[in-house]
């Protein structure tokens, strides 16, 4: 029986690009000659359980999970998207009296998804106000639209958004909200990782991704993902990104 390999995508994907990932899966399957099944998990926890159970063979991972996948599960990072960085926007209701992060007080209600790198970067930016997980009230929600809703309904004082998700909100919603600060980290990005079961195909997969724009139908797939292209990641670049994440995670 033919082996079916599982591809998955970090659950912080933007809804506009869901169909793009299915198109990508078909394209990758055809060009690699492997049977690949795309599994889209609706939570980070569900995806982590699949990773722990060794069900995932390829993943477009957020930098927080990439660190765990490389160090603990033997994955190899092969490429990262061009022109996409994981930045966090801290947002308040438009009429809020808070003008700067430093105006926030202990007890502030903070709405966030379970997107680990955005929550991490968001909390780092709140340190300037002496806020930490021990003196805020966490308002967990299941998606970025719900972060906006929590702010609009007065259930949260401040919210964390992935910049792409913030940019993707409708004008009508964004007009009722106000960004306080946007991170400018740029060294932290999602990456495409290949698990140990496909170790023998790492070079093929990397080559395909890097040349994607030149391969038949590849340019259209890139467009549907919202990427300009892929850039190869070497071992040391991966280690550097992991070191960087480790410094940010350290408490």
């Amino acid at each position: 029986m033919e082996t079916v390999h599982q591809l998955t995508v970090s659950p912080d994907f933007t809804p506009d690009h869901i169909s793009g990932w299915y198109v990508f899966n078909t394209w990758l399957q055809r060009n690699l000659g492997l049977h690949i099944h795309l599994e889209m998990y609706d939570s980070f926890e569900a995806q982590r359980q699949a990773i722990q159970a060794d069900r995932v063979d390829m993943i477009y991972a957020n930098p927080y999970d990439a660190s765990m996948l490389v160090r603990e599960k033997g994955f190899r990072a092969v490429a990262r998207p061009l022109g996409i960085a994981d930045e966090c926007v801290i947002v308040v209701p438009a009429e809020s009296t808070v003008q700067h992060v430093e105006d926030l007080q202990p007890g502030a209600r903070v709405a966030s998804t379970d997107d680990p790198d955005i929550r991490l970067v968001g909390m780092i930016m709140l340190e300037a106000a002496d806020l930490h997980k021990g003196n805020i009230e966490s308002v967990p929600v299941d998606g970025y639209v719900l972060v906006a809703k929590a702010l609009l309904q007065g259930r949260a004082d401040v919210g964390f958004f992935l910049k792409d998700a913030w940019d993707g909100l409708s004008n009508a919603v964004r007009k009722q909200l106000r960004p306080l600060v946007t991170s400018q980290i740029s060294d932290i990005q999602h990456a495409f990782l290949v698990g140990p079961h496909l170790a023998g195909s790492v070079e093929d997969i990397q080559g395909l991704l890097v040349r994607m724009g030149e391969i038949e139908k590849g340019a259209g797939v890139l467009e549907s993902l919202g990427f300009q292209g892929w850039e190869a990641l070497d071992h040391e670049e991966t280690e550097f990104m992991i070191d960087l994440m480790d410094t940010l995670k350290a408490e």
Partner: protein, 170 residues
């Protein structure tokens, strides 16, 4: 070897200090009272080899330090050493990272033009094949209350200086 600071690079009136950098000898630094606020949302990232020589720095490092990338790569990280920082404050850093641990601390850094900026720094050892090959340092915006507490602490430590610590500076 770090060059002495030059008056032509410094804006306005300044004080002259001579600091002794471990393994490098004395350096004349020129300091002003101007504080540059840490920019919101940015991280300063750098890497050094095991001797503290800068091998990588990002644009935020360049912007905040006031040095050009060419001046930073190959220079000792102690190019940022401000005379108000007690030598003892760095002992923990070197003890921790050389032992393979993570270090955190509040640091007053000196800019090329004599002004300064405060950071909250995290330094981790870069381990490759079981060996420490260098260090990664990430600096972020500290709160004013933590800066105030650090000013007090470092004043006291400066007064106590002359201790046994003779290690390299950060």
């Amino acid at each position: 070897m770090l060059k002495d600071m030059h008056p032509a690079d410094v804006a306005g009136s300044f004080r002259e200090h001579h600091i002794n950098l471990y393994g490098l000898g004395p350096r004349k630094v020129l300091v002003t009272n101007e504080e540059i606020p840490y920019p919101d949302g940015k991280l300063i990232v750098s890497r050094t080899d095991t001797r503290g020589i800068i091998t990588h720095c990002n644009q935020s490092f360049i912007d905040m330090s006031g040095y050009a990338r060419e001046e930073l790569i190959g220079a000792e990280h102690s190019i940022l050493r401000h005379p108000d920082m007690p030598t003892l404050a760095f002992k923990g850093l070197w003890d921790d990272v050389q032992a393979g641990k993570i270090w955190h601390g509040y640091v007053k850094n000196l800019r090329k033009n004599g002004s300064f900026y405060w950071v909250y720094a995290t330094v981790i050892p870069n381990v490759r094949d079981g060996k420490v090959v260098g260090y990664t340092s990430v600096r972020r915006k500290p709160s004013r209350s933590k800066i105030g507490a650090s000013i007090e602490l470092y004043k006291q430590l400066k007064q106590q200086e002359g201790s046994a610590w003779q290690g390299p500076e950060a």
